[in-house]
């Protein structure tokens, strides 16, 4: 393994906290895989070996699990993962046009990464925000009601190193590594940022029927 001593000690400490959450060790495999992604930005051979050692299972077993899940990356990728939902609802509401415009603008295709290492593009399946279609995700934060123009501006800002603010999320989009650490179960103190809900989530409250019928 090529982790520095410092990195290895830090990972070991986090891994122990993850293991403590489960009655059976092996259940910790997904959070551990998110954890190793937070170290290197992808699941490296070192990351696989670390998980295997922590869980007392073979590296082949860890690989078999890791390859099943689309959020786990098998090779180095961009600091910002930009996903365009092209499942039916978003696609027809404009997601397909957004995807084409973005792909041409950035110059890489599905799963491609820009040469500056900033942006990886992906076509996404439904991300549970159809009422905000068309939806784009940057490092798994919501960018609701997008257009081809808004998304081109968004990636330009990301590549220029500017902070970008999701529609419903933290005050700024964190890096892919930072976000992976949250998915490993470690909060980053940003829970109180952003709104309670976007306008579509509140739509039913804001109709006459909603006010009149409020069952509270």
């Amino acid at each position: 393994m090529t982790y520095s001593d410092e990195a290895r000690a830090r990972l070991d400490k986090d891994a122990q906290r993850i293991l403590a959450r489960y009655p059976m060790k092996r259940s910790a495999i997904l959070p551990l895989l998110h954890l190793v992604q937070s170290e290197e930005g992808f699941v490296s051979p070192d990351g696989i070996a670390f998980c295997a050692e922590t869980l007392d299972v073979g590296t082949a077993e860890v690989s078999a699990v890791a390859t099943f899940y689309t959020q786990l990356r098998r090779r180095p990728a961009g600091e910002y993962h930009v996903g365009v939902c092209t499942n039916t609802l978003c696609a027809l509401m404009g997601g397909d046009a957004i995807w084409e415009a973005l792909r041409d603008h950035v110059g890489v295709d599905h799963h491609g990464t820009t040469r500056d290492g900033k942006i990886t593009l992906e076509r996404l399946e439904c991300n549970a925000a159809c009422d905000y279609a068309p939806v784009v995700m940057v490092n798994w934060e919501y960018f609701d009601n997008q257009t081809p123009e808004s998304v081109k501006e968004l990636v330009d800002d990301l590549r220029a190193g500017k902070d970008v603010t999701p529609t419903r999320g933290a005050d700024k989009v964190c890096t892919f590594k930072e976000v992976s650490r949250i998915l490993a179960g470690f909060g980053d103190g940003r829970a109180n940022e952003g709104p309670s809900a976007g306008p579509a989530s509140l739509a039913g409250l804001e109709t006459d029927g909603g006010r009149k019928g409020a069952a509270s």
């Binding site: 009655p23 689309t70 039916t88 399946e125 039913g204």
Partner: protein
């Protein structure tokens, strides 16, 4: 006109609605305190009397599901909240957890108390990082305040809750695949029986419920079964989210009693886009048969939607107007099932692959009339022959669209291309798109 009934969403507009402070100021955790003063069997009886049915898709009676747990043998039993929300069109659990995570946690403690569980899990899809932040914080707040942990509110109940992030796989929402994934394996379904209530996580008795199901419990325990059962229809009681997306003026979450109709929901949502008419819709996500303008007045409850040949499912209602190409819509959904098929059984793995090939060439104007029969044959070979409901789900929009819109498939084949302009379907206007003809 059926009035909307915002219950779970009623406080989402409040500032910092996600904090324990806001939740408590609105009467949060009072229902829990009340529930802990009665016996677990009494809590189950209230849930039974309320008529609560699962909100994750199948609509199974919640108290009945809990009733399948074997008697306590002294060993562990588990409760798993299904927060994987990935069925296309379904978008209710994520906003609920973002705005009101304590509603789930309060319901979770009530459910754990009723079923004798001391360790619970929340399996939350990984692709929603801000929801992870809010839930992690809510768990910390609840532990610090004694709503979780040891001897909760002095009742003697101990409960630990672990938030578990998925990593991108629709199939992990299927309950047995979810358990495989939570045990640390590839998320592939298992044959039932045994049902999870008997042999689930780590082969121990396990209850799996949807987020909205569990979040409905504080209201039921706080306000009573009769209050809950006063909403809805004879067999489908209570309030539920109807998630409207697509070509309506105000897409969003509409909490209403079962039995509301699409016509009423579209009215609440400000109507269809100007100058456009309803063409087709999914009542329950993409794993339900498409319905049309003929079904505007069907009461949206499990039995009535079943009677017109579809399923209420997740109430993920995707609405498309007359600019939308049904072949394009169905081809894209089918591609989703191909992508998400876990590969464990042949009819689904191979079948979804063939379906996408055929649909793709029809959409591009390269199909033949024989392809339409091929589609139906392939659907027949998947339906009922797959290990889990994903395979069945893949066929729903295909078979129903061929029933309602066969002429549109024929138009693609005979006209050697798609007769629709995708620019008109999009919500933003693109250069060259024709104006909506009123």
């Amino acid at each position: 006109m059926t009035a909307l009934t915002p219950v779970l969403s009623s406080r989402w507009a409040e500032p910092r609605s996600w904090t324990l402070e806001t939740y408590e100021s609105g009467g949060g955790y009072v229902a829990l305190a009340k529930a802990l003063k009665s016996a677990p069997a009494d809590v189950i009886r209230v849930v039974k009397d309320s008529g609560l049915r699962g909100r994750g898709g199948a609509g199974f009676a919640t108290a009945a599901k809990w009733g399948y747990l074997p008697p306590d043998d002294g060993g562990p039993r588990y409760l798993v909240v299904n927060a994987d929300e990935s069925e296309p069109g379904t978008c209710k659990d994520v906003p609920l957890l973002m705005a009101s995570p304590h509603l789930l946690l309060e319901g979770l403690v009530i459910a754990a108390y009723a079923t004798g569980v001391r360790q619970a899990f929340i399996y939350l899809r990984g692709e929603v990082v801000h929801v992870h932040r809010r839930l992690l914080q809510a768990l910390d707040e609840a532990r610090a305040k004694g709503y979780l942990g040891r001897n909760i509110l002095g009742s003697g109940l101990d409960l630990e809750v672990t938030l578990h992030a998925g990593a991108g796989a629709y199939i992990c929402g299927e309950e047995t695949a979810l358990l495989s994934s939570l045990e640390g394996y590839r998320g592939q379904p298992r044959l039932r029986p045994p049902y999870p209530a008997v042999s689930g996580l780590y082969s121990r008795p396990t209850i799996i419920n949807n987020v909205e199901t569990i979040a409905s419990l504080p209201g039921i325990l706080g306000r009573g079964a009769a209050w809950f059962a006063s909403m809805g229809t004879r067999d489908a009681k209570g309030h539920a989210f109807f998630s409207l997306s697509g070509h309506v003026n105000r897409p969003g979450q509409y909490e209403a009693p079962f039995g509301i109709t699409l016509r009423e929901l579209i009215q609440a949502a400000g109507g269809m886009r100007p100058g456009r008419r309803l063409k087709f819709w999914t009542p329950g996500g993409s794993s339900s048969e498409l319905l049309t303008v003929k079904h505007l007045d069907v009461p949206l409850d499990h039995e009535s939607v079943g009677a017109v040949g579809s399923q209420l499912g997740t109430r993920g209602i995707q609405v498309f107007d007359d600019t939308a190409c049904v072949v394009r819509a169905v081809a894209r959904w089918t591609d989703f099932y191909r992508h998400e098929s876990c590969g464990k059984c042949t009819p689904c793995r191979e079948g979804t692959f063939w379906l996408t090939q055929v649909l793709d060439r029809i959409e591009k104007g390269k199909g033949t009339r024989a392809d339409l029969d091929r589609l139906l044959e392939t659907c027949t070979s998947i339906r009922g022959r797959s290990l889990c409901a994903l395979g069945d789900g893949a066929t729903m929009t295909i078979v129903s669209s061929l029933e309602h819109f066969k002429a549109e498939y024929a138009a693609h084949i005979d006209g050697h291309g798609c007769p629709f302009d995708p620019r008109q379907t999009a919500l933003f206007s693109s250069p060259g798109a024709k104006e909506a003809d009123a």
